[in-house]
């Protein structure tokens, strides 16, 4: 499109590369757009020049906020390079800086994690192989829980879409289809086709942390998982500690004590250590791509205490966030008043979470229902 190779256009191409390094998703199309724009403005005026690039290259608020600083940084750097008559382009320098800061960040993250390992003795990297007895978990609370979850599930599932779908019942007539169908008889309306409002059928995936640090809440967790699975059909439940396990079918048992018995015999990973990142990784590799779509809400129930790889959490959370409709993290610890998500795993996950809430008993669950 643009063939003339002036130094200005070269500079702009380089500036776009610089922006890309800073996380701007500048495409080639936009580059050429900005060059086109320069043809119709007076680019000798520095202010107008900057605003033109800003208007063509930015796509959201945060980019707009960052742009001016980056613009000045780049052209200042460029001027320096011209003065010194060295061909060193500024992008190399910044790339190096970025790498260094990344390393520092990584180091800091690792350091942080190790410190936590020393401080807390509540979790371990060992898998706990002892079988757990869930039969002591009372059933009476399950009913109440189910009532609350029914309410939440209704809000999740029964949201009426304003579009319509075919209905075999006599409801609203669908004029468009009726007319089409009856045209072959010359427009005599014999068959009337009906429609009804479509419903949003959301799927739900529950990922539950059952490591030792969550043991305090395990009774509640199991009731929660069981009640949810009973009430909500389009749902998959997984538990994880050091490894991941699908427990959907176990929780589908109609009889509560039977379900508990099976859960006890089937699961070995209860109260072990936590490797959130690795578990999420397994989840995505084995199930995620099939199960998660834009009509899926993913709920993670965990306190965020983790001994695994933080980077893995980040990439996997990002993946889930991008693919799913909503990513909800329920943290039982968040119920404490002075709780702040300082755990490094939690920190890594936070940017990708749509709803972060505390759930540790029926009361807090009711509150959550109002939020959704």
């Amino acid at each position: 499109m643009i063939t003339r190779q002036t130094s200005l256009s070269k500079n702009i191409v380089q500036f776009c590369r610089f922006l890309r390094q800073k996380g701007f998703g500048v495409t080639i199309e936009e580059e050429s757009l900005s060059l086109q724009a320069l043809q119709i403005i007076d680019y000798n005026n520095n202010d107008i020049f900057r605003q033109t690039l800003k208007a063509t290259l930015c796509h959201n608020k945060s980019q707009l906020d960052e742009f001016d600083d980056l613009f000045h940084e780049y052209w200042k750097e460029l001027e320096k390079a011209v003065d010194a008559k060295t061909k060193e382009c500024p992008k190399n320098k910044t790339a190096f800086q970025q790498q260094a800061s990344y390393k520092a960040l990584k180091k800091w993250l690792h350091g942080n994690r190790n410190k936590e390992t020393e401080e807390t003795a509540t979790y371990s990297t060992q898998e706990n192989l002892s079988k757990r007895d869930f039969s002591t978990i009372p059933e009476d609370e399950v009913d109440e829980l189910m009532q609350t979850i029914k309410f939440i599930a209704k809000r999740l599932a029964a949201k009426k879409n304003r579009r319509y779908e075919f209905s075999s019942k006599t409801e609203m007539p669908d004029l468009r289809k009726t007319l089409r169908k009856n045209l072959r008889r010359g427009g005599e309306l014999l068959d009337i086709i009906h429609r009804r409002p479509k419903r949003n059928r959301l799927k739900l995936i529950l990922l539950c942390d059952v490591s030792r640090s969550m043991e305090l809440y395990s009774a509640f967790l199991i009731q929660f998982m069981y009640a949810f699975q009973q009430v909500y059909r389009r749902m998959e439940t997984f538990v994880f500690s050091t490894s991941l396990k699908r427990v959907t079918w176990l929780l589908k048992q109609k009889n509560f004590s039977e379900a508990m018995q099976k859960l006890g015999t089937e699961n070995n990973g209860w109260s072990g250590g936590t490797r959130i990142g690795e578990s999420l990784d397994v989840f995505i590799k084995e199930y995620g791509k099939k199960l998660i779509d834009s009509k899926t809400i993913v709920v993670i129930l965990s306190d965020g205490w983790d001994t695994g790889n933080i980077d893995l959490i980040k990439t996997n959370m990002e993946f889930i966030h991008a693919k799913s409709k909503k990513l909800i993290w329920l943290n039982p610890l968040a119920g404490f008043e002075d709780y702040k998500p300082h755990v490094s795993a939690m920190k890594a996950a936070l940017p990708f979470i749509d709803v972060f809430a505390s759930v540790h008993n029926v009361e807090s669950l009711k509150r959550l229902g109002r939020w959704l």
Binding site: G25, A37, A55, N60, L64, R176, L179, L183, G187
Partner: protein, 294 residues
């Protein structure tokens, strides 16, 4: 070719007070034939830009208000079924073959054009305002992408309708949902924030004719202070103008605490906000430099 300062003048003549970044974005979107995506808090004049542009370009404004569940039949076209049925009844005893009948009821006069189809078949290049795009769902957004890039709409019964004039598109969003990257890439982006004191003062003086200059200054100062408080719903320029018009209609030439208390409902639309501001009203007044008579 229109120049940048002409755009500014044009907007100014229409009573739209603007700054450099707004003028630049409008200018580029006109010159490069690109849709303009405008984001910003409520009541800062996002929709107004489209109206002003239509006025300035002396063309029609076609508006598509988005809402959850908005679909193609409401955005593109729909057949006028009732009329089709009536027509079929009328020609019932006609010996026309069925194909003929079908042809007649699927022609232009039975087609109800919705905003998008209207915009691309308009005789003069119109301004198409797609308002509050963030309220529509993702499906509609991706459908819109198709229209925005091809400028043609296919009606199965008629065929493909190509745009006679590519409309000037303005999209607005209140950021209740993040828009997709794909849509952003196709547009120029503009963020309009709450105006600074000078700009807002100018707007008030311009839009509320006959207002006391001193009062306009006080109102603006008060609103600027008000926006620094954390409120449930921060008032925009629309509220400032409503308030200024109300006070002007009451023939008031300066603010005092009783008047503010009485008319606070014009500015604040949330009871928690109202209560919070009432509590700190005297402090606010002091900051604004408005002195109580008492």
């Amino acid at each position: 070719m229109i120049q940048l300062n002409e755009i500014k003048k044009m907007l100014m003549e229409q009573g739209y007070i603007t700054d450099d970044s707004v003028a630049m974005s409008v200018f580029l979107s006109l010159q490069l034939n690109k849709p303009l995506l405008i984001e910003g808090p409520a009541g800062v004049g996002k929709t107004e830009i489209a109206k002003v542009m239509a006025n300035a370009l002396q063309t029609d404004l076609i508006r598509l208000q988005c809402y959850e569940g908005l679909d193609a039949t409401h955005a593109l076209y729909e057949w006028n079924y009732q009329r089709q049925l009536l027509h079929l009844k009328i020609v019932e005893h006609n010996q026309q073959p069925v194909e003929e009948k079908e042809k007649t009821i699927f022609c232009d006069s039975f087609l109800m054009k919705r905003p998008l189809l209207q915009a691309i078949t308009h005789h003069k290049r119109p301004v198409l305002l797609i308002d509050e795009i963030d309220r529509s769902d993702e499906e509609f957004e991706s459908f819109l992408l198709e229209v925005l890039s091809d400028w043609q709409i296919t009606v199965p019964e008629i065929g493909t309708i190509k745009a006679t004039n590519i409309p000037q598109v303005i999209l607005t969003s209140n950021r209740t949902r993040e828009l997709s990257e794909a849509l952003r890439r196709r547009c120029l982006y503009l963020y309009i924030d709450y105006p600074d004191f000078e700009k807002e003062w100018m707007i008030v003086k311009n839009k509320v004719p006959g207002i006391d200059v001193k009062l306009a200054e006080q109102i603006t100062g008060f609103m600027q202070e008000l926006r620094t408080i954390k409120l449930e719903k921060t008032p925009g320029i629309a509220e400032t103008l409503d308030w200024a018009a109300a006070l002007s209609a009451l023939h008031i030439d300066h603010l005092d605490i009783t008047i503010i208390e009485q008319t606070l409902g014009v500015v604040l639309k949330d009871w928690r906000d109202t209560r919070q501001v009432q509590m700190s009203l005297s402090e606010l007044m002091e900051k604004t430099g408005v002195h109580s008579k008492l």
